[in-house]
Each structure stands twice: as C-alpha cells, then as structure tokens.
Symmetry: C2
Subunit: 326 residues, 2 copies
DNA sequence: AGCTGTATGTCAATCGTTTATCATACCGAT
DNA sequence: ATCGGTATGATAAACGATTGACATACAGCT
C-alpha cells in the first residue's frame, strides 16, 4: 500500500504539500493539485484512516449497540442510522449484544478501544455504571441515562393511549397488553403500558398484562405465551402488542384457534415495520418515526462530538396506522 | 485516556515490560503481571486499538457489504456473521449499499482505508474491476468472483428443483417463477431458476418468469407485480418466489383476490427467515443454512487473513421446509 | 526597493503501541 | 567461578498521517 511519502515522491513534492492538498489547507497551486491527483491515481493511493484516527485521537466511526439485529425494528433502525451516518461521513461499528450484558460491556470496551466518535445505545441491558467514565458522547435510544449525552425516543405514552382508544372504539371490553416490560431498567417503552392503562382505567375496560422475557425474541415464543393467555382469559377481544413481531404472532394464534381478526379479536401492534404490511390482514399499529429517530440520533452524536451543545431529550411523535387488525 | 506509558509509570515498570505483559511474550514475573493489572485497573487503561492497528498494518475488523440491512435475509445473515466474528475476536464494519454501485465502491475504499482484515461481500452491485487491486481477502457470498479469495453459497440449483418438485407434486400445471434475476452480473442465485426450469421442462409444466428490479425491495412492490401477472396468467396455480419476502407478498395478493392458499394456489418461498413463520398460513420454503454460511464465511476470512490456504468455493445444502402454502 | 500574497520546502514532533537489540542483574546449578 | 535461565530496563525505530514553526522564492504592486 502506497503511503503519502510515495505520493510525494511520485508527484515531485513534499509530504507537507501533499498533506496540504489532501486536507485542503494553506496555499496550493492548481499545478500541485493536479500532480498530487495524478500520483494518487497512478499509485492507487488511499490515505490510511488508521493513522489519521491515531493522530486525530478519534475515528469517524459510530458504535451502534443493539440487542438484536434480526429484529425487524432494529434492522430498520440500523439501516436508517447507516444512511444518516454515511451522509455525515461516518461509519458504523456494529455491536450486537443478544441482550447479554457481558457482551454489551465487551462492546463498549471495543468502542472506546477503537476510539469511536460516539456510541448510539439501544435498550437496557447495560448497567448505568458502565457509562460513567466515558468521555465520548453516548446517545441513548428509547432509554434514559443520566450519564448519557442525549436521549431520543418516540412518544410512547401517546402511542399506548392511541392503541387503547382504537381498541375501545372498536368495542373491546377485555384486552390483553403484551409487552416487554423490562424489569431491570426503567425504559421509555414502559410508558406505552402506562398510556394504555390510563385510557383503559378511565374507560372502565378490563385488561391483563403479560411480560415476556426479553430473550423470548430469539425463539418466536410469544405465540405460545399468547395462546396460553387466551385460554386463561377466553373473553379477551383485544390485544395491544408492544411490537409488530408480537402482534404478528398473536394474529397467527388467532388464526390457529379459529378466532377471526378483526371480527372477534382486534389487534394493535407497535413499530410499523415492514412486517406489519406482510401479514393478512395487515397490522393496525402505532408508527414509530424510525427514520427521523435515526437521523436525530446521528445528528446529536455528530454535534456532541464536535463539542456543540445538544438537547438532553428528544421525543418524536407517533401515529396510529389503521390497517386490517383493528 | 491513559496510555501504556501512564501504566508503566504507575506500575513502576517500563513500557517494554508492560507491553510484554499485555502481549504475553518474553519473561514476565507474577509480580509484574499483578502490578500491571493494578495500574490498568487504577487508571482505567484500555489499549488503543487504533495505534495497534497502525503498527500491525491490519485491524481486527471485517467489512460486511450488503445491499439492504432491512431485508430479513440480510438481517439474519449479519446477525450470524456478527456472532461468528465476535467469537474470533473480530468486529463488523457495516456497509449498506442500498444496491447502489457508487455506494458500494465508496465502502470498499472505506474498508481498505481502514485497513480491515478482509471483506465479506454480498450480491452483485459491484463491478469485478473494483476488486482487482485489493490485497486483502474478499469472501463473496452468493456471488462468484474470479478475483475473490473464496465464495460461499447454498445449493441454489437443488433449491429451485426442490421447489418445482413440491409444486408439481401438489398438482400445479401453470406456475410462475418470480425472482431477482440480476441481469448485470451472473449470480449463483440464478441457479435457482435453472434448477426450477429443468424440473418443469422435464415434467411438462408450463411456467412464466418475472424479473423484478432489484431495487423493488425498498418499496414492497412485488405485490403489484404479482397481481398484474396473475391477471395476465389466470390459470396460474403455483408460484416459486426467490425470497420469503416475495412469497409473503404473493400470499397477500392471493388473499386480496380471494384465491385460497394452498387450495387454489401453492406458494414456495426461499430463505426460510423468521417472516416465513409469521404469515398465515406459514410459508413452505427452501431453507438456506444461514448460520453455517455465516460461520463458513468468517472462518474463511480469518484463515485467509492469516495466510492459510482456503477452498475457492463452498456450497452448502438447502432443505425444503414444508409448512402451509404448498 | 520594499512589501504582500502565493507557493512550496525543511524539519521535527506527535498520536500510542509494538518490537528488536542490547545491557544488566540476580539465582541456582554445575 | 562460570553458565544458563529468568526478569527487567534503556533506547529507538517503525507504523502513516498531521501540523506547527520557519525558511525560501517569486510574483506583482506601490
């Protein structure tokens, strides 16, 4: 691999001048620019980003820590994060924790060891202490962290309320609320339940809550859980699932049990990922502004990394998407 | 951030000795180990991986280039790649091309600029020339590349044949083959069509082929395409979709048009991702050994990066998964 | 002639780690 | 007394780029 010295020699200039061309600073003649460009072309030169990062003490890399890449919500989110980061000239170091705290910790060390510009952190597998000493920006998504630089979330509470209202408007009297109420850490997503419960309480609608293990995601076991619950509460006529994946599995269970949707049972999901449009009927769900959340997170990170002040919390609006299940 | 010098000072040793402890080479006393450990702990020291990479001229990073993270197949694949890489002590630099050649090229430069240990490349958006000068291993997935280090794919041809046989066994006489026959580059996935056609020809079954644009993925437009095709070929009684996403949309179209599945229409998908289990009925599909493909790719990359010889092509078996659509 | 702006060169430090080369020193065994 | 193994130190080069401080040189302008 050619170095800047090789380019300088080839171009008949010094490294200083070549560096000036590369970084576009100081006085440079068109002639010098041309010669450098030619030399780069000829030698197939590419600046060594590693050396750059070492000197700058920071790399143009963002560590993105998620519990599951396979979950459509995170897949969609990562896709949007990548897009936003790419436009800002940043790269993504992918950190998949599989909801394991020890893996999350390891990845945080990897991020700092690699001098990432900052971290975008999803979900609550990591204890607060882990972030205490970090001197890089940490943008939390759907998680409040005192030591975090900034938090981005959607209006979960309103989302829960909208779901409840939709179910109730459809005539539901006995509903199930199935979500991932992570007991370890308090998450903004818990607000979904709160918003939902408030409306139910006010309207006098009976509800039960199911709390699947967070790890359940791997094994598509929401269905079994749901089936058991429907047997236990046979009068159930509505379900609010805190993700579309859970909603889709609920829909399946209904089909299996011969319960018509939305006739006998109404279902509202959350997230509005692609999956919501691939079930039959398509899922009525609460739309999270994933793209905007991703863009916001990246912008906050870049701003914070540049030393600018950033808002501590950003809440983006949700929206009820009416499709076929409620 | 503390450096190795700080650790040396704190431990009352020299950087040489500390480095020896860190890299476990040469003679080191237990006492030295202990003192270094204490100093590291006290200073919260973490080796600067950037400096390490610069010196070693290679980072423990794998560039993974995919066309779409949001597509469940890639999401699943990346998840498995991450797992395999993590176990080998490697990290993932995520490169999402959105099927744009110019973005793919840019990411290849980013990968080389960052001195990744190697690249795992999916799909055919990149011209062959781009890889000519690369002096790092390039593992291609579902793509043959002369200049590539090694190729990993599944037995696409058998997959296509299995799908055809399943449809024909179910009594189909007029089938549609919908796939992403990328005309730009010849892909192993094209073998699916070939295997499928062979069986149909032999059994005297009529088939038509639909070639959606690769970019169609973004917009969930397979459905429209399918609907049009079903109007044009009303006698169609079977569909082989080259991905589960397409199969799911086909299923939806059938529901919309009041065509019963698998009664009037049989559908076989490809990939066997989570989505295949979330439709109603669940998709009959060809299972790709995603986990094994991912593990193979990482192992090949690590081996090649270590200078070991690796097989040029690895083909892994597929399997027909019988569920509810055929 | 002197000034200013433009353009490039020279030199060297710096980022943090690895590693090679010697040198030193102690311990126990021969 | 010498030798080999163990343990550590001192020093410095190398990885590749950036950058600051200065020097030099030529152009055009006053």
């Amino acid at each position: 691999m050619a170095t800047i010295k090789d380019v300088a020699r080839e171009a008949g200039l010094t490294v200083t001048t070549v560096s000036r061309v590369l970084n576009n600073r100081g006085y440079i003649s068109d002639n010098a620019r041309r010669k450098v460009a030619e030399a780069m072309e000829k030698l197939n030169y590419q600046p060594n980003e590693v050396a750059r990062s070492l000197h700058k003490k920071s790399s143009k890399t963002i560590g993105v820590i998620v519990p599951h890449i396979r979950h459509p919500y995170f897949a969609e989110m990562i896709s949007n994060l990548e897009n936003a980061a790419y436009k800002e000239g940043y790269r993504i170091l992918l950190c998949n924790t599989q909801s394991k705290e020890e893996k999350a910790k390891a990845y945080i060390e990897i991020c700092t060891g690699n001098r990432v510009a900052g971290i975008i952190l999803f979900s609550g597998q990591v204890a607060v202490e882990t972030f205490m000493g970090l001197d890089i920006p940490v943008i939390t998504m759907e998680r409040l962290l005192d030591s975090g630089t900034a938090a981005v979330e959607c209006d979960n509470r309103t989302g829960g309320a909208l779901a409840a209202e939709k179910l109730i408007a459809g005539g539901c009297k006995n509903v199930i609320l199935i979500g991932s109420t992570d007991t370890k850490v308090e998450l903004p997503a818990d607000q979904r339940s709160i918003g939902f419960r408030e409306v139910c309480d006010r309207r006098g609608v009976f509800y039960v809550e199911l709390d699947p293990e967070e790890t359940a995601y791997n094994e598509l076991t929401y269905g079994n859980m749901m089936e058991k619950a429907l047997r236990e509460y046979p009068k159930t006529d509505g379900v609010f699932a805190s993700s579309d994946v859970i909603a889709a599995q609920t829909l399946q269970v209904c089909n299996r049990l011969g319960i018509s949707v939305p006739g006998q049972m109404k279902i509202v999901g959350f997230d509005d990922v692609m999956l919501a449009q691939l079930t039959t009927p398509q899922l009525t769900t609460i739309h999270q502004p994933i793209k905007e959340m991703a863009q916001t997170a990246v912008r906050l990170l870049v701003d914070a990394a540049s030393g600018r002040m950033v808002p501590k919390q950003t809440v983006l609006p949700v929206q009820l998407i009416e499709r076929g299940t409620a």
